[in-house]
Subunit: 410 residues, 2 copies
Amino acid sequence: MTHQPSPDAVVVGGGVIGLGIAWRAALAGMAVTVVDEAPGRGASWAAAGMLAPVTEVHYGERPLLSLNLAAAARWPAFAAEVEEASGLPVGYRPGGTLAVARDADDNAALEDLYQFQLRCGLEVERLRSRECRQLEPGLAPSIRGGILAAGDHQVDNRALVEALLVACQRAGVRMVRARVAELAVEAGRVTGVLLASGGPVPSRADGELLAGGGPVPSRADGETLAAGVVVLAAGCWSGGLRGLAAEALPPVRPVKGQLLYLRGRADQPLCSRNVRGLEVYVVPRTDGRVVVGATIEEQGFDTTVTAGAVADLLRAALELLPDVAELELAETVVGLRPGSPDNAPMLGPAGPDGLVVATGHYRNGILLTPVTADAIAELLVTGRVPEMIAPFAPGRFTGGVPTAPGRRVS
Amino acid sequence: MTHQPSPDAVVVGGGVIGLGIAWRAALAGMAVTVVDEAPGRGASWAAAGMLAPVTEVHYGERPLLSLNLAAAARWPAFAAEVEEASGLPVGYRPGGTLAVARDADDNAALEDLYQFQLRCGLEVERLRSRECRQLEPGLAPSIRGGILAAGDHQVDNRALVEALLVACQRAGVRMVRARVAELAVEAGRVTGVLLASGGPVPSRADGELLAGGGPVPSRADGETLAAGVVVLAAGCWSGGLRGLAAEALPPVRPVKGQLLYLRGRADQPLCSRNVRGLEVYVVPRTDGRVVVGATIEEQGFDTTVTAGAVADLLRAALELLPDVAELELAETVVGLRPGSPDNAPMLGPAGPDGLVVATGHYRNGILLTPVTADAIAELLVTGRVPEMIAPFAPGRFTGGVPTAPGRRVS
């Protein structure tokens, strides 16, 4: 390992964001190394894979909406490219999302959302109760109305992880299964990463960088991995790395999400598109699996599956789709989303030279993977910040001068 | 294996009933072999270990109530004996059961139960809402009243399994990890069992005997295990054995029960005794675990954990004890109870000579382990049916002459 030439870039974090960046940068000719103890087993693994910029729209997040819409538009081609590159399916599936109201209060809230969606120029259709049930016969008779976002889609996030891993491997990305303990900094410039030595993994609660879980592999032995640029894409663990002052790191925090994986028969689908209420979403896979999510909890790095959350998710899903009762409860999952102060990602050069950040994707990590991968790879190759991610400069929370498009990284 | 002398008794089924019988018979000097693919991992493993003859009383089951009360009275000494013999704790814990009512309807039902319990001479105390919450401060404020059965107790069913396995081993019981395919019958007499040869385990839905799950170990290789007497203690799989006509086997059926294992902090107990509503029971262990059970479902040999059952159990538990929400959902479990036509066990000689049955314990398997073990071991040693189990002769459903106490088995 010490005899290998330094890579052009080290990507810290092997979730879909890190893998996507590494893959695109390698395709562009860079030598890239990804460091992660358990690639793809963090928030990427716990996601539902709903690609729903339209039904996920929230008030006051218009710049993010634009990015999300661009990401959604990029998805069909990106899915095809990943499948082509890996030879593996990623379960990309159009079909739309149907957001439904359980009662009059829900329906009033849906109407507000609908009007906001219209003002944003989104393609949505307001449906009556009967029209909802015509689309999804499994809906509870009590459903009062809904909004169809026909352009929403989904991808199988776990299949995406596996496909990106293979795509990276085929593109020559080197994978180091280790934990990064510290950024190597020389004369104010990030020059690489220091890998953690073996031994028990410290508790995540200490804020230290721990990309993924599992035992520390033996090859991570306290050595330094030098690199021309370090890309910090370690999700909610991106803010706790040693070697730099905390203010130089992205202000990311873990936002706990609990999800359920249910399983039914592929030939008796629960529903044929994403179905969501105000408190829950239900994402059906073609193989009979159904993902029900997700809680939003500020619990630090806690990853406990709680009885209360499972009860809430099941109740909410059963209210929308009573046949959920017959499905197998196959798995309960906890993911720690990388939350950011304004719910938008932090993308681009940050702090000292030699450091690029790609985290803070919060609930939109899977959706934003294609545009993040493309834009950060472009930044790494050209040294210039692409227009599309300029509003999401990591420095925007520190009161410093925002990073202008075109600023050179290294 | 083929060079070993034939055991005096082969016990088919290594749940708590089979292990208890084998242990007591071995202590009495018999050579005993237990055959099970996965000892103790069936209904015994999925149980809650509530020893509650008083709160579990149902109308019209007075003979069973007597047996249950005798079993409960035997439990403290039995627990001590198992612990002494194995050197392992079984988690026996007095403390009582508090049955509570969520609303006026529940309270009316509780009052009926209370009056019936009084008529049965049981020791119960009727409590008001405030008195219930004084005993269990974690109860929901909406609880309307309750019944305290101070004599109820509990045991850790999984600890009991482990302790009985060690007790059996120390007493010289031989354990064969294999599946019994067939009873060996010669001239109308059961002479042993035929072990299944290796290979994939057939589906349980075909009604074949499958005590426990897991892969078939290699030592089960189609051989015959001869025995002076065969004890059929394979729970709900006891009725599907080949070699005898179905009518000669006990009319036992699987009654599916789904349970949840929750986990909290040992120093912040959810409650200090068994708490039950009309739809759910909550059994706290001293180590912070909490068992919530159980559904009662006629689903054949299906062992799927369903979203609907988990939702129902959690909702019912949360209605009684709101702090359940904070506990970890550690495990979902399915057990197949051995149901009998009258909810009472089938205990004693059955069908041809050389066959003894001990199954059909339904929801009372853990509770009835001591009396079943004692009585069947006595039967094996003396050849006579003990008084206590005479009302539970396996032949009582076939219209034949009931087995009288004193009838010789072999």
